[in-house]
Symmetry: D2
Subunit: 180 residues, 4 copies
């Protein structure tokens, strides 16, 4: 019987077991907002993945993903940023575990400002300064670097994947930028 | 020679000395966002003072003011909320000194998102749940309680006093609300 | 076939299914630090449950427990504080979802400062001002109210349940108290 | 009449005017905790300046100093870290203005856990990852890099300058380390 790397990281959790768990337990997630900063630490631009869904719809995404069994939050952030931005992104994972917000994605719309039809996910959200080179993941069309004003604009907000627009606006507010 | 209560609190700082200091030193301020919460702590409404300026212009304000010499931040918050909302507001000053943001008001526009023509003020911003009755201060027309959606709307934003609209949007984001 | 209320809250998760999930997925937890504050919001005392384990060992505990499927974090905090302190505790759940820290309890000692032999739990930690009357849960010997100095002392630290001593010290530091 | 760079930065504030203001107004300060982190952002060591006072007493210090008139907090942090650690420290000033704590230093002992006989200072405290080379300022004997355990130990605590020991312990707690 073969098992994938992902299964191993979760103590041998089969895909159908994972989808079963997703209907019964809240999943631990991380949301990362990639930023480029100047020499004084002030944010210059925000990185958003541009993705095309199965039905051809264009959407923008933060770095996001599940925390595995026995995985530290900072290792999950590193793993997802490497998956999404490539191995040379040189991210600066924050030294403190305190997130700037916690986003509660519910499978039912309207319970909170966040929505995920697949599951109930509790996502710890962090700002992630990156300094290196980027090679967006295969299913992403490209990685866009937007100014804070562009990122806060209604055009970008309308393209954000479900609920992540709110996390992006919260990130901008946390960084001191006016969300338009 | 007579001195007012304010002078005393500042170690006998004369009005002209204060205005002189305002051109030479950053002032320590607090910004408070009064909120009413439900039994689960979720914010139901945000309190904004409606004020008419000397030239008849209408503006909305947060609870805001200076920290005196030898005054604790939490005592300054209490003093300003009592001054603005009256003595029966029953505020819950946060137990931790960590503010949700620090607003840097500069006398020059464009240095930051905050602007105060009178001075350079560094304002520590806190959410202030209140549970009592309110008697707005004399120079305020009234105290309005707005829903988070109303508070985030562009109409209210346009009426906020200089720079406080950004603090209000940051407060809403910190509380998990979409700043529209 | 009968199901308990707990099962229902988790989308019909049987006890053996839960214990299975605990070996394969990180669990979402909340840690609450009950405090009593003065009129300026400054913490006067910290509430710790005194418990006797099956083998007669005495230990002290924070308010702690799992977040159910489709349950908001603030509702989980309310549920656990009611379970631990009784229905009249009148807790003030913080209006913002930002926790003061995230405690990562691993089933392996030494991965972090937190340890839980049963599971990998990711606990969002909050300060919980309470103002009412308290009736500690049945398996607790009593609820002790300690001064910040007492709570930070090595005697109390030695009695804290696995890993919760660190969360308590982090709470005291967040509140501005010297953890001795 | 000559003026130093410092005077200029404060709108021509003479030394005697500054010392006068210090007895009448709270001063805006920054406290920085220099840290070295591993590739996952976890703190490996904390940097403390070792200093010998005029009367030969040895003390340890954080990066600390005043915010000038019309100076951004992040520029004040850069200026003080360059003054204390040299121009090649390559600090990563946090992208968000939210400090991990606010330390209120009073000229009277016992008002808070912080004490500064010279003034009432309100210090915004930040973690400052540094990656470069260090040349401690002239009046410092050296810059020591301590493990979190060493930094939390009572020996180091006893050597910390007035009140900064508490900020250091709060920093360690914020970073997830047990303050001994």
């Amino acid at each position: 019987m073969t098992r994938t790397a992902v299964d191993t990281s979760d103590g041998w959790l089969e895909p159908d077991e994972l989808s079963e768990a997703r209907r019964r337990l809240p999943m631990v997630y991380v949301n990362g907002v990639p930023v480029r900063v100047d020499s004084a630490g002030a944010v210059q631009s925000i990185g958003l993945l541009l993705q095309s869904s199965a039905d051809g719809e264009i959407s923008r995404e933060l770095v996001s993903g599940r925390v595995f069994y026995h995985e530290r939050i900072r290792d999950a952030l590193l793993r997802h940023i490497e998956k999404d931005l490539g191995p040379m992104a040189l991210p600066q994972v924050p030294p403190s575990p305190q997130p700037f917000t916690v986003a509660e994605y519910f499978p039912t719309e309207g319970v909170s400002g966040y929505f995920d039809p697949r599951q109930h996910a509790v996502a710890l959200a962090y700002i992630l300064p990156v300094t290196g080179d980027f090679s967006p993941r295969q299913d992403a069309l490209r990685l866009d670097w937007l100014t804070p004003d562009e990122a806060a604009g209604s055009a970008v907000q309308a393209e954000m994947a479900s609920g992540q627009g709110l996390v992006l606006r919260q990130a901008l507010a946390h960084l001191g930028f006016p969300p338009a």
